[in-house]
């Protein structure tokens, strides 16, 4: 069993004057060991004060996004062996306030998501059975609906770094997801929310969000889609 050295970001803003890295050595105790399992090993066996979030351990709940060896990713679906190094460096998500160690304040991130009205607005009363939707219409909301709101994109976004009020890739992806839904009938309202100083036009199409997305989604493309819709509306009124 080879040993792996973990350098983990530590910070308690209430008591520490500055963040630090702690070094832990953990054995590669099972085949396919994930970074999340290693963090649990550290918490349970070496240092109980280490704080990090986790729930599903299978890459679907979005709890465990963090910065691992140079990239934002989900700790639970990142195997130590695939990092190709016997040193692992773990840091919290960027552009969000550290509350303790790897736990960051998600509220500003969710506030942006809530701002774009992330729910269907059909504009007419519901039918008795399902709204009809063709396979093709349904395909238009895919794959955006796979977003798990993990905030990897938010943390990697260079525009978010300079404009904290920028709505950011996740919220805009959701705005686009609803704008694409054949059952939705509120495009004006949706565009009004995102066609603004801190909205779609801020995106510089650098694709960092798309590069890190653990679900392989394309927020940059979604933002471009909203830009097109907004332009069309301005030029042709529809």
């Amino acid at each position: 069993m080879a040993d792996i050295t973990f350098k983990v970001f530590r910070f308690d803003p209430g008591t520490d004057s500055a963040p630090r890295f702690d070094t832990f050595v953990a054995p590669l105790f099972k085949k396919g060991l994930t970074v999340l399992e290693a963090l649990f090993y550290i918490q349970e066996k070496l240092d109980g004060s280490l704080a990090f979030r986790a729930s599903c351990r299978e890459g679907v709940c979005g709890s465990c996004a963090m910065h691992i060896n140079g990239k934002y990713r989900l700790a639970c679906e990142t195997q130590v062996s695939e990092l190709g190094s016997d040193g692992v460096i773990v840091q919290p998500l960027g552009h969000l306030k550290v509350l303790r160690d790897l736990v960051v304040d998600m509220e500003p991130f969710f506030a942006k998501y809530k701002y774009i009205k992330p729910y269907l607005m059909p504009g007419s009363p519901s039918p008795e059975r399902e709204w009809p939707q063709t396979v093709g219409e349904h395909a238009k909301v895919m794959p955006s609906i796979d977003c798990i709101l993990c905030a990897c994109c938010h943390a990697s976004c260079t525009v978010t770094a300079t404009d904290p009020d920028y709505l950011g890739p996740a919220a805009l992806l959701w705005a686009d997801r609803f704008a694409r839904d054949s059952r939705d009938n509120s495009l004006d309202e949706r565009l009004r929310l995102v066609d603004q100083l801190h909205g779609i036009w801020r995106c510089h199409t650098i694709f960092s969000c798309q590069e890190v997305c653990p679900k392989d989604l394309d927020p940059t493309g979604c933002i471009a889609d909203l830009k097109r819709k907004a332009m069309k509306r301005k030029l042709f009124g529809h």
Binding site: R53, E58, G59, V60, Y119, E128, E130
Partner: protein, 575 residues
């Protein structure tokens, strides 16, 4: 002290649906959840949700009677038939409602909600959104909750993220509220409410080989149990046939529903060799397939004595990519294999908790104002074995019903806002307990206790059970409970103390584990998921009864209660 009309503990499907209902009744609803709602275990549900919509040509004659009968038969007749009928009659309306709220269900060529076959039904009845149905449903409900968080036309909707409820406050048989710990600060707080709904999910993590999220510790069942509410039918634990070898991540039943094969080391589709799965083959009910797989492995026809193969190759890349993308992604990320060209190594693993907080078909427990819904509850609509696709249905049907009844109860309640004294006393007790735990200088390492508990449950309280195994497990769990009293925490800080959180939960896990083992030992028959090698037959005379477990400091006191058989007389369960 905080005050809301109705407090809902749990932000999964059942909890959010209940909260939305309370909010629709213009009452003040608050959701307390130890994780952000969309991090709840519901997010992981894959395959789908059942309803007799009849959208598939092969299922066009489906009806509530058929769906209800399949559910009752699947439950090995332990489900309460009045409750099952109620759930199924409400099923289609709830699915359409989710669709109207925006849930992106997969579609049929003519634009309707698509349905796929699942175990226990002879034709396609399971509505789905690719293989991420739980994700799509939970996001949809979260979206509705977000919508009404800020809407003036409805009651208040408040979500407390990352609060863990440690105690239920009951005064003279009336529920007064809860005590909860805020993870961010480490502070305990009393929450007064006129009604409380628990939707805290399952208890999979009592086992080391579970498909459940890590947060499914069973603590949410322990809290009402400690307060005097019985737990029901806890010995019924579902083992899913196909979980990924090693990590036990679920490979949805939908994979077999779409046509996947199960094969042994001889390359045989072995389900054909067992009387109870000969006809339905891979889509026989879960308990049957899981048992037959275990027999294959025990008799040496598995791989490395541990797993079998789930073969999807013949489905072709397109079907796998559109119908089972999540499965493919998990295989690629966790095993480095692509099911398009390699079979998937699978083994049975703990999956679902049929038992739970005892409540009636309105979600009401024996305590006034205290309700339960979803996997944490036992109404019972799943009896001895839950059909795949029925538990997502359970969450939204009974989430709504519990919300409705709790709201009506609050509207008609005379002593609104009572119970300050009981809550203050309970808060003081919890603070004392917390202080003791944080300052304990014992010698026991709680992580070792957890591992030993999970191993004991996996080894001796699994798919096949005997008196000897269960006796051993009971003794083991009791020893661990004693050792738990002497644990020492590794961290005593206040802010985001996860060492504290996980180990508070461990106390709950141990008591719930004990109830499972005690119930399994007492039930000297085989029914549904509960298979006793020493009592291989179902015994309706003695055991067509629910098991109720009441908390006492020396371990659970067991009682039986009647099963509702309004519609169908029990028959032998054959497929």
């Amino acid at each position: 002290m905080k005050y809301h009309d109705v407090i809902i503990v749990g932000g999964g499907l059942a909890g959010l649906r209940a909260a939305i209902e309370v909010n629709m009744h213009n009452l003040r609803a608050a959701v307390l959840s130890k994780v952000y709602p969309i991090r709840s275990h519901s997010i992981a549900a894959q395959g789908g949700i059942n309803a007799p919509l009849g959208n598939h040509p092969r299922g066009s004659y489906d009806s509530w009677e058929r769906h209800a009968f399949d559910t009752v038969k699947g439950s090995d007749y332990l489900a309460d038939q009045d409750a099952v009928v109620r759930m199924i009659k409400d099923a289609s309306a709830r699915i359409f409602e989710m669709e109207h709220w925006g849930c992106p269900f997969s579609r049929t060529p003519d634009g309707k909600i698509a349905q796929r076959p699942f175990g226990g039904a002879g034709f396609p009845r399971t509505c789905f959104a690719a293989d991420k149905t739980g994700h799509m449903l939970l996001h949809t409900l979260f979206e509705q909750a977000v919508k009404y968080e800020s809407a003036a036309e409805r009651g208040e909707m408040k979500i407390y993220n990352e609060w863990i409820v440690t105690s239920l406050v009951v005064e003279n048989g009336v529920c007064r509220g809860v005590i909860a710990l805020e993870l961010a600060t480490g502070k305990l707080e009393a929450f007064k409410a006129d009604a409380v709904i628990f939707a805290t999910g399952g208890a999979g993590r009592l086992y080391s080989n579970s498909t459940n999220a890590l947060i499914n510790t069973g603590m949410g069942m322990a809290v009402p149990y400690w307060a005097g509410v019985p737990l029901k039918d806890m010995e019924f634990v579902q083992f899913h046939p196909t979980t990924l070898y090693g990590s036990n991540i679920l490979m949805t039943e939908g994979a077999r529903g779409e046509g996947g094969y199960l094969t042994n080391n001889k390359g045989d589709r072995f389900t054909a060799n067992y009387a109870d799965s000969r006809k339905a083959m891979e889509v026989a009910p879960r308990d049957i397939v899981a048992r037959n797989m275990t027999t294959e492995i025990l008799e040496g026809r598995g791989f490395e004595d541990a797993y079998l193969l789930l073969d999807l190759r013949h489905l072709g890349e397109e079907k796998i990519a559109t119908r089972l993308p999540g499965i493919r992604d998990i295989c690629q990320k966790f095993l480095g294999i692509d099911p398009v060209d390699q079979p998937i190594p699978v083994q049975p693993g703990q999956h679902y908790t049929m038992g739970g907080i005892d409540c009636d078909k309105d979600g009401l427990s024996k305590v006034k104002g205290f309700y339960a819904a979803g996997e944490a509850a036992c109404v019972s609509v799943h009896g001895g074995n839950r059909l795949g696709g029925n538990s997502l249905l359970d969450t939204i049907v009974f989430g709504k019903i519990a919300g409705e009844h709790a709201s009506d109860y609050v509207v008609g309640k005379a002593d609104l806002g009572a119970g300050d004294k009981a809550l203050e006393d309970a808060l003081a007790r919890e603070e004392e307990k917390l202080k003791k735990l944080l300052s304990s200088t014992g010698s026991e390492d709680p992580s070792v206790i957890k591992e030993e508990m999970q191993k004991a449950m996996k080894d001796d309280v699994g798919i096949f059970r005997t008196k000897e195994q269960l006796g051993r497990a009971l003794q083991r769990i009791r020893e661990l409970r004693d050792r738990y009293k002497k644990i020492r925490l590794k961290h005593t800080g206040a802010k985001y103390n996860y060492d504290l959180m996980w180990n508070i939960e461990l106390g709950g896990s141990l008591d719930v584990a004990e109830v499972i083992v005690a119930g399994a030992l007492a039930r000297e028959e085989s029914r549904g998921s509960h298979f006793r090698r020493d009592f291989p037959k179902r015994d309706d005379e003695k055991f067509l009864k629910h098991t109720l477990a009441y908390y006492t400091p020396d371990g659970p006191r067991l009682e039986q209660s009647n099963v509702n058989l309004d519609h169908w007389a029990p028959k032998e369960r054959k497929y």
